[in-house]
């Protein structure tokens, strides 16, 4: 894979001077100036160049403005005569037309390089292919080659810059427009129905990267959160193996399973190896392997899970999951069943 575009060292030094651009200790988990993946880094390089140019323009024009306001203000002891009436100057006009044109050309060329690099990098043969499908208001991830389907928490392997293993994501939408934005990994790309898009990331440090839907998609757009788990190759491999297992069967919770499979739950949710094969909601086969529920709106604790099944509106008002109207025994049984889906 091509190396990221390197800008002059001096520009990078300026970037370091921006207090919140320290990549080791990101000031915010979603800081665009703390890139951890090649596309985000090449955007970061361009950003610094654009910031340097626009910053210089700002300083010059601002200084001119302050100078003329201070210098040419009407004095207290003004003689009341009109100042010399100047109508214009072709030389000056020409200067402040040509210089901006040159700046625009320079900015455009720097921009075009990054566009070509990010948009035209082909997928190498060892790339991980994931299809991300946006739903109101959650994310579905399908690893077609690996036989894994999961929701809301995307797992990808870390990419060693010497031997990159990037992840190429195909973006689809099941309903309205959404946008995939994990600022430390890449710029955002929209998920639009009937309009498949592509993006790629190659995160170079393990960890959890946060983001959220960045295109207004309906009532709960705000709680359509994104979590990307970047794992070492071994961990990722183990995760894949575990996700490929069919659902765990446990007779102790067969009552819960019966209730789950005879109510509306299975209209939307799938649990592999059982009759539950709905597609509108997240796949629950390995629900308990996830840290969060409700697209990141709540941590995956037994209390939150019960609350969510009892009345999703308390966690995420406007979520499309209905309150299931179960009585206490049924709720306990279903929650106990779901808690075995590891």
């Amino acid at each position: 894979m091509k190396r990221p575009i390197s800008y002059p060292v001096i520009v990078l030094m300026c970037g370091r001077a921006i207090a919140f651009a320290d990549t080791a200790q990101p000031w915010s988990p979603t800081n665009i100036f703390a890139p951890a993946s090649t596309p985000a880094k090449s955007i970061f390089g361009l950003s610094l160049f654009v910031l340097a140019v626009t910053g210089a323009i700002f300083l010059i024009v601002f200084a001119l403005l302050v100078y003329s306001v201070a210098k040419f203000r009407k004095r207290r002891n003004d003689d009341g005569r009109e100042p010399p009436q100047v109508y214009g100057s072709n030389q000056v006009e020409l200067a402040w037309t040509i210089i901006p044109i040159l700046i625009v050309v320079a900015l455009f060329m720097a921009t075009a390089r990054v566009i070509a690099f990010v948009q035209k990098t082909p997928a190498p043969s060892n790339a991980i292919a994931v299809t991300a499908i946006g739903h109101q208001f959650w994310w579905e991830y399908r690893y077609a080659d690996l036989g894994v389907v999961t929701a809301n928490e995307l797992h990808v392997p870390v990419s060693d810059p010497a031997h990159p293993t990037p992840t190429f994501i195909k973006l689809l939408s099941a309903d309205t427009d959404h946008s995939f934005w994990v600022p430390r990994l890449a710029g955002k790309t929209d998920l639009i129905p009937n309009h498949p898009n592509n993006m790629w990331i190659d995160p170079q440090e393990t960890g959890i990267y946060l983001g959220q839907c960045a295109q207004y998609c309906g009532t709960q757009h705000a709680k359509m959160l994104l979590r990307v788990y970047v794992q070492s190759k071994d961990e990722f491999e183990r995760w894949i193996q575990q996700q490929r297992q069919p659902a765990f069967v446990n007779d102790a919770v067969s009552e819960g399973q019966r209730i789950f499979e005879t109510t509306a739950c299975i209209n939307c949710h799938a649990v592999s190896g059982t009759v539950a094969n709905g597609r509108f909601g997240p796949d629950l086969t390995h629900l308990m392997s996830r840290d969060t529920i409700a697209a990141g709106a709540a941590t995956n604790t037994p209390e939150n899970l019960r609350l969510w099944i009892r009345d999703p509106n308390t966690i995420k008002p406007g979520s499309l999951m209905p309150a299931m109207e179960l009585n206490e025994q049924e709720l306990d049984a279903v929650a106990a069943y779901l808690e075995t889906l590891r």
Binding site: I43, V50, F72, Y87, G88, A112, T176, G187, K188, Q215
Partner: protein, 557 residues
Amino acid sequence: MSTDAVALPGTELASRPLVSSLHDWVTTVDHKRLGILYISYALVFLLIAGIEATVIRIQLIRPHNDFVTPQVFNRLFTMHGTTMIFFVIMPFLFGFANYLIPLMIGARDMAFPRLNAFSFWMTAFGGLLLYFSLVGANGLYGAGNAPDVGWFAYAPLTSRTFSVGHSTDFWTLALLVSGFGSIGTAINIIATVFCMRCPGMTLAKMPLFAWLNLVMAGLVVLCVSPLTAAQVMLVIDRYLGGHFFDTQAGGSAVIWMHFFWVFGHPEVYVLVLPAFAFASEIIPVFSRKPIFGYPVMVGATIAIGFISMSVWAHHMFTVGMSSAANNFFVISTMAIAVPTGIKIFNWLGTMWGGKIEFKTPMLFCIAFLFQFLIAGLTGIMQGAAPFDWHLGNSYFVVAHFHYVIVGGILFCLFGAFYYWFPKMSGKMYSEALGKLHFWLFIVGFHMTFDFMHIPGLLGMPRRIYTYEPGRGWDTWNLIVTIGVFFQAAGILVFLGNLIWSYFRGKPAGNDPWDAWTLEWSTNSPPPAYNFYTIPSVQSRRPLWDLKHPDDPDWKYE
């Protein structure tokens, strides 16, 4: 040219019964009265949309706040955006254009006075229709309320699958109706500028105000038409089984985006060109110099008009266009910075070597220059497509376009209010209250919109009713919300000033600013027929020629 005017019989308004004078206002075809109607109507909607913005900001003051529900929040930002663009800023600008263009070009009225009245009432009823949704429509979840699909109303969220009830229809029809009003006014402005100029006023001797509004009107005709077409297509989709934007039946969501932004971006220039027009009148008068580089200013205006029609898809850098398309819209977007930069430099050139008087209108225009400079530079940042892959749809964009619309356009509008208030009312405003308004508003503006850039850089998307703690966004949102209250205080001082000055202000006289364009040659307020005799002019500053017969402009132009 005569500087006095006589009252014709029947134009006296004193001692008439209220009903009959209201009837006069409703049936008027006088461009000045229609201008004032536009402006008062926009003031009412400014208050409504301002309250909506305040509620939005209170909801976002801290993470996981529950001041309003997500449904209400989504309606609020939809209504705030739609109202501010279509029923506040556009009517303000049309109002000033209506009032001032005939006076500035020495005409007795607009070219089509009845079309003028028709256009105003279409716009007015469009606004009423939008707000009638509060009682007449069902929202997304059947709760009976305002539209909640965003002012950009991206497909397929507007389809009947995702937007049940009629709230989206109220949005569609309100924009359709007011769109006809806008096109009517635009045609009227074009006809007036081309056909109604007084003797001697060639196109090259028109005030820049008329030039900028002429180009604005041309843009309105070109850009509102596709929006109207898109609204018709949306109605066909929703009620006649069409599939233009119905993605479930093979329609295209991206086509709606193109339709919307081919309107939406030129619309920004529709709003900003009249603001430039105010600045181009106010800055020379308070610098005591003619506008620097008039022909270049006209050329830059026309260039902006043309280029602005080819930049729309910079709103769509994240929708997955080809790299060639992205490159095209990068270069066209950056190209528009050149004529815009020329304008800023020419205003600076006008101030350079002048004797600047810091009256309230000039203060607002100086702040406009500073803020528009920043807005332009953040615009260039977003014009660099890869940078926009981060900035697009983040709070950085919200900060950027509020810098344009509030920091640029609204500041110029306030300048225009103070500058022409003496002409429209015949009374002088209170300079002390004007300055108080300026300082309150500029402090509030910078607290709100400077700090709003930062959460965008830290990954905060727009249109979210709440956000997670621990993202580094909390403090910035708190500061942003506090700034809103300074702005609100400024607006109240402004309204108080208008009302107090209207009743208690000192008589302003015909020409309080020692200005140079024709509107200052007639009475304040001008009589119904504007000029006793139609003036004839020899230069761009007819009143300068009159005041300085020894050194008239026409010797140099």
